[in-house]
């Protein structure tokens, strides 16, 4: 059963639907949805962007994290209708054609993933952090990611990956004061 105009299978005619228009990874997308459809399911089943994972479906794990107008939300805990007129970024929106986003490069370089299930959510929480605070301390990274659970890595390399990305995104010309300097002994 599908609930979306882009997948032309209809639900019963007696079920009221609403039209939603979303800017999804910068592209305008529209769908006719039943109000109870969750944003995570619109993204995964409707728009076929399966990078957004649903791990717990009970608002606990953060695997379904997407950016909603730039801020991280659990897409399993929002109705798709609520996204009407808003901007949504999923993990598929991070890379620019062939060029990985620095956060993705960081996860690759620092081995920030094992099974990869939590990774999309981790990367989007990390993006929200770095957009707001380009030079975070290790503590600030841990804090920002504290709503995303990982069952594999023990978090150490995830934190390293985000600090790696922060460094890269600030660029070689950025001030020399690194996060480590600021939190270091003293």
């Amino acid at each position: 059963m599908s609930l979306f105009e882009e997948v032309p299978v209809s639900i019963g005619n007696d079920v009221p639907r609403r039209r939603v228009e979303i800017s999804l990874n910068g592209e305008r997308r529209a769908a006719e949805v039943e109000p109870r459809l969750l944003l995570a399911h619109l993204i995964r089943n409707g728009f076929r962007l399966t990078g957004t994972h649903t791990g717990c479906d009970t608002t606990n794990c953060g695997a379904c994290t997407v950016l909603f107008d730039g801020a991280p939300v659990k897409s399993c805990t929002m109705f798709a209708v609520q996204a009407d007129g808003h901007e949504v970024t999923t993990v598929e929106g991070l890379a620019q054609s062939e060029q990985l986003h620095p956060i993705q490069e960081g996860f690759k370089d620092e081995h920030g993933l094992q099974c990869g299930f939590c990774t999309p959510g981790m990367m989007l929480s990390a993006k929200a952090l770095l957009d707001e605070n380009p030079n975070p301390t290790e503590d600030e990274v841990r804090w920002a990611l504290s709503g995303n659970l990982c069952r594999c890595t023990g978090y150490q390399n995830i934190v390293k990956a985000v600090l790696w990305a922060a460094d890269k995104m600030r660029g070689p010309d950025a001030d020399t004061g690194t996060a480590a300097d600021e939190t270091g002994a003293g």
Binding site: P35, R36, L38, T59, N60, P72, V73, Q82, A144
Partner: protein, 290 residues
């Protein structure tokens, strides 16, 4: 997991929202959705109509009102309070609690007022409201009324709001002294509800307490107002004897139950320690003299 079917309404004004709530028998307000949507997915809640208030303008403001009270609108998210650069100078207790509510992603959506309306005995904001003698400004078809938080919360997950009333603001009264105090919460991990939590709101004149409130989280079937403990502070300096008395009284009114988070005795001990710690900290913080 899917919620049951419902009719979705997204009004753009308060009057429209109230009319929708009045017109339908089984309608519910949707604010941050961080309690309501999980409950709908588990089918603990199955409202026929959802009135989403997220598109109503001006509800996302917080700050000092003309009458000196501090107002928090119905769409002020936990994250907005956590990231506010001005909250701390007016409301140190709220500023210390904001980062401890849920997890960073839930804080993007969840609201202060929605949390008070949810009336979870483990909710952090309700304890802060008790400690600050806060009230809720509600609007219904017959106008507005102000309800003190002790009366507002009728029981676990129950408030005195009529089905067609919307809580539009939380109000924290104008201070009579310099505000101090804070929130401490024991949680097993980020995003867990409190094993035990204590909110202490103080108003100081120099080093003397002129007004005090203490709210306790997660140690009873509802948020506990430790009013005797608070009364023991008023008129006194925060010396170790006074602190010990208040902390003991607060632990005495806690009614914790033993569960997977800890034994009742342990939780009572945590309350005593937390109240004592917050007060000791407040005693140490040098008064900002104007």
């Amino acid at each position: 997991m899917y919620p049951s079917r419902f009719q979705y309404e997204a009004p753009t004004s308060l009057s429209e929202a109230i009319a929708l709530l009045s017109a339908h028998d089984d309608a519910k307000v949707l604010a941050g959705g961080q309690s309501l949507i999980p409950m709908m997915k588990l089918r603990f809640a199955a409202p026929a109509v959802i009135v989403d208030i997220n598109n109503i303008p001006k509800l996302d403001q917080h700050g000092v009102h003309a009458d000196g009270s501090y107002r928090i609108g119905a769409l002020v998210r936990h994250a907005a309070l956590e990231k506010s650069t001005t909250l701390g100078e007016h409301q140190p207790l709220l500023a210390s609690a904001a980062p401890l509510v849920a997890d960073p992603i839930v804080r993007t959506r969840g609201t202060f007022v929605g949390s008070v309306c949810h009336a979870d005995p483990q909710g952090d904001w309700a304890s802060c409201m008790v400690a600050l003698d806060g009230s809720i400004l509600a609007q219904g078809p017959n106008g507005r009324r102000t309800i003190g938080v002790d009366e507002f919360v009728a029981g676990p997950f129950q408030t005195v709001l009529a089905p067609n009333e919307i809580a539009i603001q939380a109000i924290i009264p104008k201070p009579v002294g310099t505000r101090a105090g804070g929130y401490l919460k024991l949680e097993r991990r980020v995003g867990d509800f409190a094993t035990a939590g204590a909110a202490v709101g103080l108003q100081m004149d120099g080093d003397t307490v002129v007004q005090a409130g203490i709210g306790l989280t997660g140690v009873g079937a509802r948020t506990i107002n430790a009013s005797e403990a608070a009364a023991a502070l008023v008129g006194n300096r925060l010396d170790p004897d006074v602190i010990g008395t208040a902390a003991g009284l607060a632990a005495g009114v806690a009614q914790p139950r033993s569960d997977h988070r800890g034994s009742a005795d342990y939780k009572r001990h945590v309350i005593e320690t937390f109240v004592s710690r917050i007060l000791t900290d407040a005693a140490r913080t040098p008064e900002k003299v104007a």
